[in-house]
Amino acid sequence: MNQESSTLGSIHVSPRAIATIVYQAALRSYGVVGLSPKNLVDGISHVLVKEPVHGVDVHYDGNKIEIDIYVIVEYGTRIASVASSVKNTVQYHVEKALGLPVHAVNVHIRGLRISE
């Protein structure tokens, strides 16, 4: 889907691949303790996902990448700061890996984990 063309041929990057980058970047962000499936019935939102595509949505319309990410945050952290740091980290890693500008990263806090 994400394409880059040269005289030798073209390069395609699938949303799933981008989702994996996002997933890895998010899990390295401080305060994020997991990702949560995006379409969840209330009540089972404590289920953390191991599969990147479930907690990450990647939209690409031909010239801009938009990412939605659904996270569980550690209770007791300042959520605004954690979210903005997730946003920055994800944007940085995706842009670094793909060389394509990320138009938006929307961070959805799906829950808090209390680890006492």
């Binding site: 063309s5 040269s6 899990l27 390295r28 962000s29 401080y30 305060g31 994020v32 303790v33 997991g34 031909g62 550690e74 007791g76 952290t77 300042r78 700061s81 954690v82 740091s85 920055n88 980290t89 944007q91 940085y92 680890s115």
Partner: protein, 562 residues
């Protein structure tokens, strides 16, 4: 030079401190000290920035977080250590800024939790609190990255535990903890390759070290105001290779290699140099020191004389940063313009541009090729043809951007087998407005319609000098006067460039538009451009105003109103 210690008798201070219980009030004092010392060294921490990491202002973020913690307790006279620690943690949590701030607040949270309701702390409690801080901080992330503030927190907890085995004095423990933190920070590049590549240590870890060291310095009665005079390994000194701007007072960059005679008094050294210049860095390797400093012109030899007074100099390099900057800017002007590569089958736009700057703006909007030309330098049909004949697509859009070139563009369109549409853009602003509507993969006819429609959405203004005296549209112009053309019609003339710019904006009803873009020409002096920019900003304070280097000849300004 002799070392001039500022603390009169550190040992006595430690003793007095040891006689005081480690209670809430003491903690408050320590927090204050940690924050002061961190703030003093804030820029040092900020400078440890692995550009372009997301969290690039660690020092500031940590200071703001600690400030929030202190604000929370500033009016408190709580004697209970545990309660005070909880207040600190609460403040840090509320004020946590950035990644490092969040981790710092978690450390405080863990620390506070372990000392819950204790009146005063002993060494064993303290070691426990450090361990709890570490555990809480590690819980906040799925994949902890080692070589960061987390690692430093871990090493601190380990050392505190070790110290407990040898001594039961909290101050002695803090001393060892600070040393361990220092070592741990120095090891961070070995754990995290990105730090090693950038030649820096971890900024968050360094910030944490400063907080703890500030507490220790306070106990030892050392100053918390004087910035840290520290020596780094020679290899980690950063000498600016390219400067994008020169701040006032940083006209010259000096790098001096020297061998001091005897021991170097760092605090005195830094103190002295700070009066001379800025951006001071000191490196050491094999007994040789390297000083890096930026100084204003009048001080360019002062550091040399100063260092000569106590050291043997080996090498001095002086660079004129202003001249260097000018050179870089000139290089940028002449640098290549990056055109958009064209895929087979997509629509390619060829624009005629009278200057490099304007060409660059067109390029940034995605034109496939540029033809140099404009008023008094019309490109030939052949030149236009050459610009697109070799492109790997047969859908071509031409933007002549001047009414005298539309003819040549039409001719070129007739001479090729490719499908060519000429957008009758008569001015640069029209061309740019039209360009914004390009969708390279769209339906050719529809895109062309869109691009033509865009021509009327922008007002184009030009400022130039009259080559002869004339009277047009009831405006009399004397030779050499600045004349304003609105959509190619003469609307204003004045002997002042500024007045004719403002006159043009007024006649063009700039007040009805939102964005004023001004491209200045190749002959314009930067100071004059700034003057006019100021005048325009004063006249239209609510407008968005963009000033760009157009590089066009003859026209002092090309102005678009959108």
């Amino acid at each position: 030079m002799e070392l001039n210690e500022s603390d009169p008798n550190p040992a006595e201070n430690i003793e007095t401190f040891n006689r005081r219980p480690l209670d809430g009030l003491t903690l408050k004092k320590l927090i204050e000290a940690g924050l002061s010392w961190l703030r003093t060294n804030q820029q040092t921490v900020n400078a440890l920035n692995v550009f372009p990491v997301p969290d690039g202002d660690t020092g500031t973020n940590m200071v703001l977080t600690m400030q929030a913690a202190l604000d929370e307790i500033s009016n408190s006279s709580e004697r209970n250590f545990g309660k005070m620690a909880h207040a600190v943690a609460q403040g840090a949590l509320m004020g946590a800024r950035g990644n490092s701030g969040v981790i710092l607040s978690q450390l405080w949270r863990g620390f506070a939790r372990s000392v819950d309701n204790q009146e005063a702390l002993n060494a064993a409690n303290l070691a426990q609190a450090f361990a709890s801080a570490r555990d809480t901080a590690y819980k906040g992330v799925v994949r902890p990255v080692e070589g960061t503030i987390l690692t430093v927190a871990k090493d601190i907890a380990t050392e505190a535990n070790e110290a407990l085995k040898d001594n039961t004095d909290p101050v002695a423990m803090l001393k060892r903890v600070v040393e361990a933190a220092d070592l741990s920070v120095q090891r961070t590049p070995d754990l995290l390759p990105v730090l090693k590549d950038a030649g820096v240590v971890d900024s968050g870890g360094k910030g944490l070290f400063f907080i703890l060291e500030g507490m220790l310095r306070f106990i030892q009665g050392q100053s918390l105001e004087t910035p840290l005079s520290y020596v780094q390994p020679l290899s980690s000194i950063k000498i600016d290779e390219t400067m994008t701007m020169v701040e006032p007072g940083q006209d010259y960059e000096l790098v001096i290699d020297f061998y001091p005679q005897g021991k170097l008094d760092l605090e005195g050294f830094y103190k002295h140099l700070e009066e001379i210049g800025t951006s001071i860095q000191l490196g050491e390797g094999d007994g040789m020191y390297r000083l890096h400093i930026h100084v204003p012109t009048e001080n360019k030899y002062v550091p040399i004389e100063y260092i000569e007074s106590f050291a043997t100099m080996q090498k001095v390099t002086i660079e004129n940063l202003l001249a260097q900057l000018e050179q870089i800017q000139n290089q940028e002007k002449d640098s290549q313009i990056n055109l958009t590569p064209i895929e087979p089958g997509q629509i390619a736009v060829i624009a005629v541009a009278p200057g490099k700057g304007i060409g660059r703006v067109f390029a940034s909007l995605g034109v496939a090729n540029l033809v140099a030309g404009g008023q008094t330098m019309n490109p030939s049909t052949q030149e236009i043809l050459n610009a697109f004949e070799n492109l790997p697509t047969d859908k071509i859009v031409l933007l002549p951007n001047n009414k005298n070139i539309i003819g040549a563009a039409d001719n070129a369109a007739g001479l090729t087998v490719k499908k060519v549409a000429v957008i009758p853009s008569k001015t640069i602003p029209q061309g740019l407005a039209s360009m914004l509507r390009l969708s390279p993969h769209g339906n050719f006819d529809e895109v062309v319609q869109e691009m033509i429609a865009a021509l009327d959405e922008v007002e184009s203004g030009e400022i130039t000098q009259a080559t002869r005296s004339v009277e047009i549209n009831g405006i009399s112009v004397k030779e050499g006067e600045f004349i304003a053309l609105l959509n190619n019609k003469l609307v204003y003339a004045s002997s002042s460039l500024e007045a004719s710019c403002l006159g043009l904006l007024e006649r063009g009803h700039a007040e009805h538009f939102e964005l004023i873009t001004m491209f200045y020409g190749m002959e314009m002096e930067p100071t004059v451009v700034t003057q006019i920019e100021d005048a325009v900003r004063r006249a239209y304070p609510m407008h968005e105003i963009e000033i760009k280097d157009g590089g066009q000849p003859h026209y002092h300004f090309i102005i678009s109103l959108e």
